[in-house]
Structure formats: structure tokens, C-alpha cells
Amino acid sequence: MRRAILERLGRGPQPVGRLAEGLPVSRPAVSQHLKVLKEAGLVQDEAEGTRRIYRIDPAGLGEIRRWLDQFWDDALTAFAAEADRMDEATGKGDNA
């Protein structure tokens, strides 16, 4: 459901009411999902009169950062495996 909400927001900023119109869940449920997405740094909201307009975080730095964090974690894990494998293969004699 949150993926569907993100995809809808990807088409442009919208208030909760309009988001909920095309989705098979209640408006309070959509609000709850938006709250989670906001906390995850995926969306931003802004007051416009009496309603709140939601949109995808335009900078997206939180996402980039988290993506890179995972990316480098994977890369360093692979690096360490190779470095240790090389170390085993050539024996400890080199370092002694």
C-alpha cells in the first residue's frame, strides 16, 4: 500500500483526500501510511490552508544516504572476504 502511495505521489503533490480516493483503504489508513513514509524521509508535507499537501521529498538525500550506506556495506563485506581469502591462500608466512 505504501508503494502505491509513493507511486501516486510520484505523479505530483496531493492532499490526503485525493490520495485516498483511488485507493482501497480508508483516509485515516492513508494518513497512517503517510506518517510512516514521512518518518522514513520519503515524503514531505506542507500546510496549504486547512489541508496538508504531501509530496515526495524533493532532495531525496535521506534515501541516497541510506542507499549508499547499504551499497558500501555490501562492497566492504565482499572486499573483506577477498582480502581474507588472499591472506589464507598466501599463508601467514608473509606477515610473520
Binding site: 513514509l37 531525496g60 534515501e63 541516497i64 549508499l68 547499504q70 566492504l76 608473509d94
Partner: protein
């Protein structure tokens, strides 16, 4: 509502049994041996990763079809202590020569043997200089996959 976000650098560390010189060699010259093949931005499946072992050297991947896809360059090459790379892949997974974010890798010998490798990817706010950064990420299949894998429970909940 709009605030400037200055994200903290991404920092990861790992400890290996190899001594510092070997750790540096495996990381830099041997990058092709360990780089995850899934970490590719080229249009063709990745065949090889090349990091030229000299300051000013290129950092790129070669696809199965022989095409080269640049990632950035080597800013400092100081074996066995330090490597400084320019990561020039934008959020659209494309090489952008005008984008420079730094990846610094330091190799520190440990008293008990082995080496600690500290990686820092910084200047992340420079990604934000590019407008509409999230849209391309969401639009590309890899972007979605990466994003969704990353956010796992959040996005699929």
C-alpha cells in the same frame, strides 16, 4: 517547511586479517576481484571493474559488450595508507562529470595484527544540487528495486 539537509557522510568500517599493504592492494588494484557484480550502472552486465592505480587515474567498469562506463576518478593514491576517489554517479545512475562526491578509504594497521579499513563517502549534499533527484530513482527499475529493498518493510507495509 523547506530546510537544507546536510546529510552526514556515509561511514563504514571493516577489519581484515591481511596486513595494510595487502589490504590496500586488494582494495585498489584488486577491486575487480571483489566488487559485487550487482553494483553496476552500465547498460550491459558488468565484466570488469578498473581502478587505475595513480592519482588522476580513471575509475570505470567494462560491460560484457565491451562498453566502458565511467564512475569517477582517483584523486589520491597513497599506498598503503589512503585512497581518495571521486564518485561521479548521480541519482539517475549516470556518470555526471560535473558531480564530484568524495570516497575516502583509510587503512590502519592494528596492534594485534590485521588492518582496519575505514570508508567515508561524503559531500552527499551535492546530489541535492540536481533537481528532481528522486523522480529518476523511482522511475528506473533498478532504482525502485534498490529503494524498495532498502526500505523493505517501510515501502511494502
Amino acid at each position: 517547511m523547506n530546510q537544507i539537509i546536510r546529510p552526514a557522510p556515509v561511514r563504514r568500517s571493516v577489519i581484515v586479517k591481511a596486513d595494510r599493504a595487502r589490504a590496500f592492494a586488494v582494495f585498489a588494484a584488486g577491486m575487480d576481484r571483489w566488487w559485487p557484480r550487482t553494483h553496476s550502472v552500465g547498460s550491459s552486465p558488468q565484466r570488469r571493474v578498473v581502478l587505475e592505480p595513480v592519482a588522476g587515474g580513471r575509475w570505470y567498469e567494462i560491460g560484457e559488450d565491451g562498453s566502458e562506463c565511467p564512475w569517477g576518478k582517483v584523486l589520491a593514491y597513497e599506498p598503503p595508507a589512503r585512497l581518495l576517489l571521486a564518485w561521479q554517479i548521480d541519482a539517475d545512475w549516470r556518470y555526471d562529470p560535473s558531480l564530484v562526491t568524495e570516497v575516502e578509504v583509510r587503512f590502519t594497521p592494528l596492534a594485534e595484527g590485521g588492518t582496519r579499513v575505514d570508508l567515508e563517502h561524503r559531500d552527499l549534499e551535492r546530489f541535492g544540487d540536481k533537481a528532481e533527484i528522486v523522480r529518476p530513482m523511482l522511475d528506473s527499475p533498478g532504482g525502485w528495486q534498490g529503494l524498495l529493498a532498502l526500505f523493505g518493510g517501510v515501502a511494502d507495509g
